[in-house]
């Protein structure tokens, strides 16, 4: 919300800058005819002689003709600019119409820019008569399509000042074939002196802030006036080129759309025009003086009036001072309005008006539409949210409507139905959106469509409203030119003691108000005339905000002390009154934007009728303009795509899982490891083509030095690691992550893992609960017996010693008495009695037809416990088989000698002897041993040793597992080692252990 406010503030500031820029208009000396050629539009500048001023001064208008490519005659567009602008300020629009295939004539109106003459505010005798001359000019051009001799096919287009020009010219000159009039007036006197009291003919209070701006615009252009240098240079400083790179940058953001599409209103003439004029002035060496305008020796009145026609100027100044127009001024202003001639317009007319325009409100366009309707002239009404106070939020749509209108009626082919909807209006810009939704109706309902009543509540105690002497301080309900600025807050509007508020009930359903809401007030005053200002707010807690910054001024004559009822028509606009919202009619006695009485006065305001009557409409909202929540749509799409992807891949996976193949031939084999390969991400091949199997009743020892791949193999056997290739089958079922067959496997891998905050017993229970199997199957008591933790069983696991955890881990692995038990280093942390106790447990476990796989470093332990061993080294299986077979063999003889002294002779007897393949000596003084592998029969070997004089105390065929282990490890490494098979055994042992 804050962001929005900032954006609005920026836009409003830009409006101010633009308005100030528009104030300065330079008049250059008459220049000769020059022609320039753009890419596809040729332009010709020409000074055109028009009727002289009242005093006989000749007047020439600065014009520019835009000719599109091609030779055939084209329809023409006469394009008028806004107050304070020039032909430069409509250049962009002109090029657009030319690009549409029209000949476009732009001109600088009398009293502005390089044109001569004075400002008469669209006097029929001057500005409008000039328009007839311009039509003559078009009627004489061969490039322009002609309907008859001197009758060009032409449309008149303009905004604000130019809009009234267009309507009035169409009213007096029947050669006009189409009109687009934007943000303009019907009756200038009622626009400047608005009266919101229904049925009253008294002029209302003067729009002093807007009036001041008009004068500023005119006086600012006066050479020699003190403000000249300021107003000619200031805009350049306030709207530097960087902020206005072209006619569509700052001014585009600034200029109300309706203004932008046709012509610039005086308040928003673009800085580019100013720069252009400045450049021209430099070229010609002029000081910016208009020879045909006010000279340097001008009289004070002339200085004050700038280029205004002097009589009109004096009357306007009088009115500004008194706050009331003289009868003569009222007559002049009415004459300078489309009001009188609108009934004579026959050209199809598009009326574009701003919904929050504090200068020319919707009532002005409504009066024009009524005049056209009465005359039966084709017309369409378009309400945009732009105007003199801010830019339209849908400039493209407004522009498009005008171009469609012109194309249709200049082609002359199509007259019915209307090329655009008969009535188009813009809803308020929704919160967190930048564009107003646009709605249409097939008929223009006027300002009082379908009425609805909104009940109003009067304050409990009607307070007296004071108009302070001097009329200050003033309430601020709207700032002309800054309509979209959220500055006039409720606190500035509802000054205490000077305002009263009537709140509505909470709306039960939403209303779209299109037109003029009205409220009937009862006024009792101390004065003979009461001036009041009525505005509409939406209540937000203790605060209130305006959806449209508009104020209705009321001036009503009354008898002091006597209650007078007055119906107040609030300014016409479009409001979205949501269900659940509350609205407030605020009545104030002063308003900065208007001239207010300076006499002190006290009024008592009550509701004559406790309702607010609102006209409603139910138009079709154009789908392109409704705020499509693209963010939501994109997000919903993204979510659906994600879910779709997830669902799809889940489906694929579940199909693949069904393809897992059960090996029936292994169904009776507890464990088959088949050609397992695993390479880790760092490239280390931990397991390389490992195959072995374990049968029922076996206790298999998995041996190997560190890094041999034992643990990796065991993790693959449990589905914790996915092998690169190869399979593990338990009882014929393949093992993969989450295989159900793992339920028939118990495991202790690389140390136990328990939840530290639970006790030993709770941990076993939690583990069993996680398997999802019935508690009865757990065999909890047996497992607890294995753990042998005694009283420690009910202490949290974090207090356990390593050995206790280890025992608990073995117990956990045995829960449910799985058919296969994998124990990785089960004796870690156990003391010798515990190790000894573990031995029969495992053996009896296997003896019951189950299988135990144990990996261990303790070779003696394995030798005692295991029935089979698998020896791994460097990721490969080096040897496998029953322990008994590994330890004894026919060609090996182990001699146990009495002393070290016997070692030498024994060795000498066998070394180099025939058939001796290997000779291993363990020179342990307490138990020197000699192991020989020989092809000769054992008895001959024994004889040879005894004959050599060695004192033999024992001869055996069985080695210790350690020897076998070292032997096979060494021989598996032999090719890569030093190549000597009979290197020192102790040395090799050291090597192996060091690994």
């Amino acid at each position: 919300m804050q962001r929005l406010a900032q954006a609005r503030r920026r836009r409003a500031l830009a409006t101010v800058v633009g308005a100030l820029a528009g104030v300065s208009v330079l008049a250059g000396p008459a220049a000769s005819v020059s022609a320039t050629t753009a890419a596809d539009v040729r332009t010709t500048d020409q000074l055109v002689d028009v009727g002289p001023e009242t005093d006989g001064t000749p007047v020439r208008l600065d014009t520019r003709l835009y000719l599109p490519e091609g030779d055939e005659p084209r329809p023409a567009v006469l394009l008028a600019h806004g107050f304070g602008g020039s032909k430069q300020s409509v250049d962009r629009e002109a090029r657009q119409y030319a690009a549409d295939g029209h000949v476009v004539l732009t001109f600088t109106a009398r009293g502005f820019g390089r044109s001569g003459g004075r400002i008469h505010l669209n006097s029929p005798d001057h500005e409008i008569a000039d328009g007839t001359v311009l039509l003559d000019l078009l009627g004489a051009r061969p490039e322009v399509r002609q309907d008859g001799a001197g009758d060009p096919r032409v449309a008149v287009v303009g905004g604000s000042y130019g809009g009234a020009f267009a309507l009035m010219l169409a009213g007096v000159d029947q050669r006009v074939d189409a009109t687009v009039a934007a943000i303009t007036w019907n009756d200038l006197s009622s626009a400047l002196f608005p009266q919101a009291a229904a049925g009253s003919t008294t002029p209302g209070p003067y729009k002093q802030l807007w009036g001041a701006r008009f004068f500023g615009a005119s006086v600012g252009s006066l050479p020699g006036a003190p403000s000249t240098s300021a107003t000619t240079t200031a805009p350049a400083a306030m709207a530097p080129p960087s902020s206005a790179p072209g006619p569509s940058a700052a001014p585009a953001a600034v200029a109300p759309a309706a203004v932008r599409l046709i012509a610039h209103s005086g308040q928003t003439a673009e800085p580019a025009a100013v720069r252009g004029a400045t450049g021209m002035r430099n070229k010609s060496g002029s000081t910016g003086r208009n020879a045909q305008s006010v000279g340097e020796s001008a009289a004070p009145a002339e200085v004050l009036c700038g280029r205004f026609e002097l009589a009109l100027c004096a009357e306007l100044q009088d009115a500004a001072e008194s706050g009331r127009p003289s009868a003569a001024l009222t007559a002049t202003l009415r004459r300078n309005s489309p009001r009188g001639t609108i009934g004579a317009v026959t050209a199809p007319t598009l009326l574009v008006q701003g919904e929050a325009d504090t200068l020319f409100g919707l009532d002005q366009a409504d009066a024009n539409a009524a005049g056209l309707a009465a005359a039966g002239t084709r017309h369409a009404v378009r309400w945009t949210d732009g105007g003199h106070d801010g830019a339209s939020s849908n400039p493209g749509l407004d522009e498009g409507a005008a171009r469609t209108w012109l194309r249709t009626y200049l082609a002359g082919s199509r007259t019915d139905p209307l090329p655009v909807p008969a009535f188009t209006y813009s809803l308020p810009v929704p919160r967190r959106s930048d564009t107003a939704p646009v709605a249409t109706l097939d008929a223009y309902p006027g300002l009082r469509g379908t009425p609805r009543q909104v009940p109003l509540r009067a304050p409990a105690e009607p307070a007296a409203l004071l108009t302070p002497p001097g009329g200050q301080p003033s309430s601020m309900t709207s700032l002309p030119g800054l309509g979209s600025l959220e500055l006039p807050t409720y606190r500035l509007a509802a000054l205490p003691g000077m305002s009263t508020a009537f709140d509505s009930a909470v709306l039960e359903r939403s209303l779209t108000v299109v037109g003029t809401p009205s409220v009937r007030l009862r006024v009792t005053s101390t004065g003979e005339e009461a001036t009041l200002f009525v505005s509409l707010w939406r209540v937000e807690g203790t605060d209130a905000v305006q959806q449209r910054s508009l104020t209705a001024p009321v001036r009503v004559a009354l008898t002091p002390g006597r209650a007078t009822d007055v119906t107040v028509d609030l300014p016409a606009s479009v409001w979205s009154m949501a269900a659940g919202s509350r609205w407030r009619v605020l009545v104030t006695t002063t308003d900065t934007a208007f001239t207010t009485p300076r006499q002190a006065r006290a009024d008592r305001i009550t509701l004559a009728t406790p309702t607010l009557t609102v006209p409603t409409a139910d138009g079709r909202i154009l789908p392109s303009t409704t705020e499509r929540d693209t963010e939501s749509i994109a997000l919903a799409g993204g979510i659906l795509a994600l879910l779709g992807g997830i669902g799809g891949s889940a489906l694929l996976r579940s199909r693949r899982r069904h393809r897992e193949h059960v090996r029936e031939e292994y169904a009776d084999i507890p464990l088959v490891v088949d050609r397992l390969v695993k390479t880790y991400a760092d490239g280390h091949r931990a397991v390389d083509d490992v195959s072995w199997r374990a049968e029922r009743g076996q206790v298999v020892g998995l041996l190997g030095p560190n890094g041999a791949g034992k643990t990796t193999t065991m993790r693959m056997m449990l589905g914790l690691i996915t092998p690169d290739s190869g399979t593990v089958h338990v009882l014929g079922r393949p093992v993969h992550p989450g295989s159900e067959v793992l339920g028939r496997v118990g495991a202790l891998v690389e140390g136990p893992g328990f939840l530290p905050h639970l006790t030993g017993r709770q941990n076993l229970q939690a583990y069993w609960a996680a398997t999802g199997r019935p508690p009865a199957e757990a065999g909890m008591d047996d497992a607890l017996g294995v753990a042998a933790l005694g009283g420690a069983l009910d202490r949290p696991v974090r207090t356990y010693s390593h050995g206790m955890k280890q025992r608990l881990g073995i117990a956990q692995a045995m829960l449910g008495r799985p058919e296969v038990l994998f124990l990785d280093e089960p004796t870690n942390g156990l003391d010798p009695p515990q190790i000894a106790a573990m031995r029969p447990i495992l053996q009896s476990y296997a003896a019951s037809g189950r299988t135990v796989v144990v990996s261990s470093h303790l070779l003696a332990e394995v030798e005692l416990t295991c029935s089979h061993v698998v020896v791994m080294n460097a990721g490969r299986v080096v040897t496998a088989g029953p322990v008994a077979e590994l330890l004894s063999s026919e060609d090996t003889t182990v001699f146990e000698l009495a002393s070290l002294a016997s070692l030498g002779p024994a060795r000498a007897a066998l070394e180099g002897a025939e058939g001796t393949r290997s000779l291993e000596v363990i020179d342990d003084p307490s138990k020197p041993t000699l192991t020989v592998v020989s092809d000769r029969p054992r008895e001959s070997v024994v004889r040879a040793v005894v004959d050599a004089g060695a004192e033999v105390v024992g001869v055996g065929s069985r080695r210790h597992l350690e020897e076998v282990f070292l032997g096979v490890i060494a021989s598996s490494q032999a090719p890569s080692a030093d190549g000597s098979p009979d290197g020192s055994l102790v040395e090799r042992l050291r090597q192996v252990r060091a690994r």
Binding site: R431, R432, V506, E540, G541, T542, D543, A578, A579, G580, S581, R582, D629, E631, S632, L635, A636, G638, I639, L642, L643, G645, I646, S649, R653, R715, L718, G719, L720, I721, T722, P737, G738, S739, E740, L742, G743, V745, A747, V749, E750, G751, P752, G753, F754, L755, P756, H757, L758, A766, Y767, A769, A770, T771, G772, R773, P774, Q812
Partner: protein
């Protein structure tokens, strides 16, 4: 035979943990601490500043106290709760070395994550609902039963405030979900509890920093915590503007689905080496 790692089994694994107890303790202590803090200063407003803030209304009755307590905890505390409850369980099992035993129990990988996520989400939801309910009880006892005063002025009658507050609680729950999901994903990836919660916190903080850079414009809408305060839109007089609430909820769902999906995808093929 129930499914492996049933929700009840998972709940029992998490319930006795100290971090769970601590969080529950904090949630229950917070409203009491706030009441104690407010009792130190009779006039909580800043002197000389007429701007009314949420904290100025906090002592105006049970509903206002509830909203204030919920507001201050929805800034960070509830996000941390979500990160902890959703992100920590998997890496915690890994750090206890019990993850491998669960997986060989066997619990399928997806089942394990689902149980952990469901229990994580339910316990987060329980806390997020408990906090305002408890604050409401404490606030009503301490400050009476005045209806909710809106920040901009005016009051919300009970009949409107209660359903809207319930909706706000639901919205906050949706808003913290992506942080939980992110934490979950990081936890599954890294298998370290600290990385999970810390990663989510860092995400939240970086998101907050980026959100304060106006130059990023509309890109900030994609930040996970950008719409985290949109639930305050519910507590206004008149009709509710659903735009931000809708956007916030949709972004949250998107991120939640994304990170949860990434977590599952990762865990499915991950080698368990812990």
């Amino acid at each position: 035979m129930s499914r492996p790692l049933s929700w009840r089994a998972e709940l029992r694994r998490q319930l006795g943990r100290r971090r769970t107890l601590w969080i529950i303790g904090i949630v229950f202590a917070l409203p009491l601490i706030l009441v104690a803090a407010f009792s130190l200063d009779d006039d909580p407003g800043r002197s000389g500043d007429p701007t009314v803030r949420l904290v100025d209304l906090a002592t105006g009755g049970g509903p206002n106290f509830t909203v204030f307590a919920f507001f201050v905890s929805a800034e960070l505390l509830l996000f941390i709760v979500a990160a902890l409850f959703a992100g920590d369980p998997v890496p915690a099992e890994a750090s206890w070395a019990s993850l491998r035993y669960l997986l060989t129990a066997p619990v399928t990988r997806a089942r394990l994550l689902t149980s952990k996520l469901v229990i994580g989400f339910l316990s987060t939801a329980a806390l997020v609902v408990t906090l305002p309910a408890w604050a409401f009880l404490v606030g009503t006892l301490a400050y009476g039963t005045e209806p909710f005063s809106i920040l901009g002025g005016g009051e919300l009658p009970w009949g409107e405030w209660l359903p809207r507050m319930a909706l706000a609680v639901g919205y906050v729950l949706v808003m913290i979900a992506p942080i939980g999901a992110f934490s979950f994903w990081v936890g599954v990836r890294s298998q370290t509890p600290l990385a999970a919660v810390g990663g989510a916190l860092i995400l939240l903080i970086v998101s907050g920093i980026l959100d304060s850079i106006d130059a990023l414009g509309d890109w900030r809408k994609a930040l996970p915590a950008h719409y985290s305060r949109a639930w305050l839109d519910l507590l206004v007089s008149g009709p509710v503007d659903w735009t931000d609430l809708r956007h916030g909820a949709l972004w949250s769902v998107l991120y939640t689905v994304l990170f949860v999906g990434l977590g599952y995808r990762r865990f499915r093929r991950q080698d368990i080496l812990s």
